[in-house]
Structures are given as C-alpha cells and as structure tokens.
Symmetry: C2
Subunit: 415 residues, 2 copies
C-alpha cells in the first residue's frame, strides 16, 4: 500500500472518532497543540533552516524564500492562529432545519463533519497548522500534502502536533502529512474516491487547475482572482482614487487585489491623468487601451492576454469604456468570478452591476481587498471559493461541514 | 463547433437573462409551458410511439419500455408537475446572511442561480420536463442530455416547450436538448468547464460512476442506494415487521428501498422465522448469512458481493449480528451513504446509530422509503444527493442555487 493510500485510510478510520468529540475536547486539544508549537520553536526553526538551505541551493527566488521562512514571531503567529480557531463557534451539531411532517415524522437537518479533507498546497508552512486547526475544529480528519520545498518544516510541525495530541481526545491519526515529495503523490490523492471526501487546493493557478482538471474526488476550487474596479461617470474622485489605489497596492500579491481598472470615458476625461500619476508615484506599471494612452502616455499598450493575467504584482491594466454594459461585458469575459467593484453615485448603475456581475463578492464603493474571512467577521478561513457549489467566497468553518437528515418516527411506513 | 458546445454556449448566454427574471415572470412561463404540453398531447404520444417502436425492435425489456411510454395520463402528470413547481417558493434573491461590519460595510449573502446546469439521464422522458422546470424556476439555464432511446419523445417535448416559451419572458435558449445520441456527446459535456457550472447525473450506477470518474465540471452525485434496516434486540415486533416490509416491497425499484436487513441475534431467535415467512409471501427472494439459514432454510447463502449489490428488485439480504457495533460496521462497509434505519426501543442505541452512521438520512423507527423531496415537504426534487458537498439528501429548489456576497460601502479601503 502506498504512503498516500495508507495515510488516507488511517485518516478515514479516525474520522468517525473525531466526528464524535464535543467542542470542549477539540478546543482543549488545539490549545495544547498551540502551546507545543511555542515550546518547540527552536526545533521548528532548525528544521526550517534545512528547507531554506535547500531552497537557496536550488536558486529559489527571494520572495519564495521569504514565504518559506519561519522565525520566532511567525511561529508565535501560527500558534496564535490556532488559539483564534478555538475562539470560533463550533458549527458541528447545529440544527439547520426542523420539519414536522403531518404523519408525525420529525426531520432535523444537522451539521456534521465532511469526513476526510485533503489539502494540497505550496511553500507556505503556516498553511500546515492553519488547515489542520480548521479541519480538526470541525471534526474532520485531514490529509495534508504541502510543497516539497517546505517538507522539513512541515514534518517537524506535524511531529510536534502529533506529540501534543497524544494526551488529548483528538486521535493523531486524524492528522496526516504526505511526505512523498513526488508529483505522483498528488496525482494519487486526486483519485482517492472513497477515502477522501473533498480536496481543497491552495496555491497558484497552475496547482489549482491541475487539481480541478484531474481530480475525481470532489474539489472546492479556490483562489485565482482577476479582480476589476469600475469607475463610473459619477464616481466621486477622492473615493474612486482611494479605492482603486487600495485595491491595487495595499497588497498586490493576493487574490483579491485589482488587476484591471475600468474607467468610464467621462470620468477619464476629468480625472484619469491625475489617477494614473498616483499609480506612477506608487511604482505601478500601467498597461492601457489605446484611449488610455492619451491620458497616460507613459503606459504600455495592453494586450488581451494582459487582461487575462493575474499579475499579483505592481502592474495594472486600464481600459476606458463608454457605458456600464461595456464594463460588465469586459468583466464577464476576463473576470474569474472572485471580487468585482463599481464606484458610482448612480444607484441604478450600482444595483445593475451588483446583480449582473457573476462573482463571489460584488462591491459598491469599497475596495475588493475586503474579500477575506477575517474582514467578513468569520475568523480564520480555509480559502476563498471561486466556484458556485457548496461554498462561495471566503470559507469559514461552516464551509468545512456537511449535513445529515435525522428522522425520528414511531413506526411510520410509506403508503 | 459541436452541437454540445454550441448549445452550452447559447445556454450560457441566456443564463444572465433568465437569472434576472422575477418569480412572477418565471411562473407565468411555466404555466404556459404546462398548458402547451396538454394541448400537444397527441403529438407527443405520436413521437413517443416512434421511441417505443424502435425500442421493441431493439428488444428492450418490458419494464424499460414501460418507463419510456407516455400516454394521456402520464402527460397530464408531467404538466401537473410543472404546475406544482410554480407553487413552490422561489429561493432566488433570498437573503441568507446579513453582516454589518464595524467599518460600516454592509455585507449581504444572497441566493443566486448557479448558472448553467447539465443533466445527464436515461430513458424516462418525464425527467426532461421535470428537470427543465426545476432549473428554470431557479433562474438557471439547463442543458439536457437524455437517453437516446427517448430521443423522439424528448425532442418533441422540447419543441413544444420552446414554442410555448416564445411569448414569455423565459428565453428559449435557456433550455437546450442535446440530440446527438452518441456517447461522445456525454463525454464532451463532462469536460465543458467554463460553460457548464455543474452536472447532475440521474440514472443507474454505471451512468453515475461514468460521470463522477470522468467529469472535470463539478458534479452532484445522486442516487445509488444500498439501504439497510437494523432490527435491534428491543425492536417492537409489529413495528419492525411493518417497517422492514415497507422498506423492501412498497416500491423495490427505487433508491431508498432496503437491500439488506440486519437483525440482532436476540430478535432473530424470537421473530425472524415469522418475518422471513412474510417476505416469502410477498415473493421476496432471501439471501442470508449462515445463521439466517437456520431460521429461514429456504434462503440462499448471501455472498459479500450480494451485500454490495443494489438489487432494486424483490431480493433481500439478511444478516444476523450480535450487537449494535456490528450493525454499524456492516453499514459502514457496504452502505452508499443514502438512507439507513434502526428499529429499537433503546434510546441509547438509537442515538448512537443516528450519530455514527454516515448517511444522507438516518432513521429511528421509520421506513427508509421516506427519503424523498415530496415526503420531506420540499415539493419536487431534482434527485437525492449521496455526496457530502453542496447538498445532501433530497434536493429541492435551494440545491439548484448558489450564493453571492453583495457588499455596500461608502468608500471603505483596507488598512
């Protein structure tokens, strides 16, 4: 039996036991796990140093090495993340619906764990603990498959968590890490119907596309974000500038940041040059449509490939449109159904945009950067779903649950 | 462009328009469509006769021909089904959650259509109208791919519905029928990411398995049901007999009927012979474990393959177990997570069974035959989900919806 199959089977066996635990038992264990991470900080940093050394040898970029790196304060942050998960309400056991039928049947729809959740992710070792905490809190077993570049760090953190779990009600078999660094271990996970109930990919678009196109296990698609901000003719200039600059530069590397600014021609005439200057001051490279170039001659000409690119960087496309419909159409063609914003003082335009744009989050007069579990008040999130089934948008704990109908009778049979 | 791609694209283009319609507009159209089916009954029966003739030539079994056949009263029933869908509350636009954030953002989670729904099904032409009605009522476009044996009937009914839609607000492009009878048209649908938002297979387990194993479009798995009834030591004999006979023989061909009866050894000693006699009187062929044979010597010996078979017929497995755990374990090994029942007077055993059995519907003292949209009070259903994501159990209209976060601000940006 392969490592993947073996560990998934252990996780499945443990799923029933963890599913039965009460909130208190799960929370106690998570707190003990958080303490263990702090206590073993030095060991974790040592294991992480191995990953960093190997990464440097392989010529890994500075930004990737930065994502990979753990230090005392980051480990403190990871442990704090677990403690915050403890504070969140436990959705398991909640009654979602109660139906009393005329024949006397009582039907109650209850929240239950999903079962075994597979997480496939890249180089950020914090995801290891974060995903484990969210899955265990919701009574799920979890099979983690992190990037091979973080393997030493992940292995050490899982070792620490397993040791901590030993004195607790949480069975350590419910937390599994796949250590096989070959791509084939990912491929194997994708086909583990019957052992894994769902796979959640977290990472760049090529990782996500590989999972979506090859998995036979159900997938929750997360992440890719080509987000737009549309400045309508009546947009207030100060607000429009603040929102579009925030959406682009507050943190360009994340999925809810803006990639393309759509500007109504009337707004452009009055304000686009000044706004383009502001982007230039913030070192944002501009790529514009032909008409944009007359307002910002230093911009490059945008190709349709540019409009279809998630830069996650200090690069912005600008396109001038003649009416709301053209903006909606552009977003329908190039958007990834993540987060889209209109800035306008025209209520009719706002409501048409909010209704007609097909995306997880649609904004009127606010930055797309708010699409986030913490910003929505959910606490930690396992990712941002850009698909339409099961969960859409930031996924808090309820997205990691399923439901079950519990029917109580007194001998009812069907006529 | 292939037929499949072309029609899916038309459906996608229409999805935005149908998504915007209000309840009244959709209901009016559905009523006109129901009337048209009645008015064109003779034409539909004529088209159906072609299917029946071809079916007979191909040596189709009598029971399949019966499923395929349409007559006046069945068409009346199909039209009545559409009228019942009109009576159901429209979930689109419902507010699922309202969050007011300290920064002044108002976040509202709204129900929206999924978009374009693909339905792949077999020989029952009633599914054509039924699925169309449910999808259109929820503002979705739908691409139907029925069995080739019902092609003439389906084509005629869609023609009738399209004509009826012409005077209504429902764009007829929102209702598409794939007419290519080759298997390749199914394969093509399964990979139409970007055009289809979800595929729902309805039919036998080989159809469903093909869809689950080959689709890259998200799937809602429906149907297969190896359902168990467990008669605990303290089960009331009259109730136990009534429930188990109902679960088996009231309609053996459907997914929520019982395939295996688990019997506690103490119960078996007192009551199994009488119960087995009752099944014999109802022409149910019995296959039992070794111990069962001493109570019902006319039963055949059950193999583990038998326990893994969905008979959908007058055949029943019987297995004697020594305690609740053994019953739970058997169900975990052989069940399909559909509907499972315990008959007992022991409340502790009931609550352990209801909690530990992992299925869409778990019953205490009632027949598994109740797992059904109508019986749960949802009205029509698009199927019974046996998966854990998005929807589980009977799927009414809300299962055909997604959600969207609508965020209203006044210039908020993220710090």
């Amino acid at each position: 039996m392969s490592e993947v199959q073996n560990k998934a089977q252990l996780a499945k066996n443990a799923a029933l036991r963890i599913g039965r635990l009460n909130t208190e038992e799960k929370n106690q264990a998570l707190l003990i796990m958080a303490d263990a991470l702090i206590r073993r900080t030095a060991d974790i940093i040592e294991a992480n140093a191995e990953d960093l050394r190997r990464g440097k040898e392989l010529g890994t970029s500075a930004s990737l090495l930065d994502r990979l790196a753990l230090n005392e304060s980051r480990i403190e942050g990871i442990a704090e993340g677990l403690r915050q998960i403890v504070e969140l309400p436990d959705p398991i056991g909640d009654t979602l619906e109660s139906i009393d039928r005329p024949n006397g049947l009582s039907i109650v729809k209850k929240r239950v764990p999903i079962g075994v959740i597979g997480i496939i992710y890249e180089a950020r070792p914090n995801v290891t603990v974060d995903a484990a905490g969210l899955c265990l809190k919701t009574g799920n077993a979890v099979v983690l498959r992190g990037g091979s570049s973080a393997l030493s760090s992940n292995r050490k953190m899982i070792e620490v968590l397993h040791e901590a779990m030993e004195g607790t009600a949480l069975p350590k078999e419910a937390l599994q890490l796949i250590e096989d660094p070959n791509r084939s271990s990912v491929d194997e996970m994708l086909k583990l119907n019957g052992l894994l109930d769902v796979i959640i990919p977290r990472g760049g678009s090529s990782l996500i596309q590989n999972v979506v196109m090859n998995a036979t296990v159900p997938v929750i698609e997360t992440g890719a974000g080509i987000c737009h901000t549309y400045l309508d003719a009546t947009a207030q200039p100060d607000m429009a500038a603040a929102i579009s600059i925030n959406a682009k530069v507050q943190r360009p590397s994340v999925c809810n940041s803006m990639e393309t600014l759509l500007v109504h021609a009337d707004y452009a005439k009055l304000h686009l040059t000044a706004l383009a200057e502001e982007f230039r001051e913030r070192n944002v490279e501009l790529r514009g449509c032909q008409r944009t170039l007359s307002f910002a001659p230093w911009a490059a000409l945008a190709s349709s490939e540019d409009y279809a690119t998630e830069y996650n960087d200090y690069i912005l496309n600008i396109k001038i449109v003649d009416h709301l419909n053209e903006a909606i159409e552009h977003i329908s063609n190039y958007g990834t159904k993540h987060s889209e914003c209109i800035v306008t003082e025209n209520e009719d335009h706002a409501s048409r945009f909010l209704q007609e744009i097909d995306a997880a989050a649609v904004y009127h007069n606010a930055s797309t950067r708010f699409t986030d579990g913490f910003e929505f008040g959910f606490g930690a999130e396992i990712g941002i779903s850009t698909q339409k089934l099961h969960a859409r948008g930031p996924m808090g704990l309820p997205a990691l649950t399923s439901s079950k109908y519990v029917i109580i009778g007194s001998g009812q049979i069907r006529e």
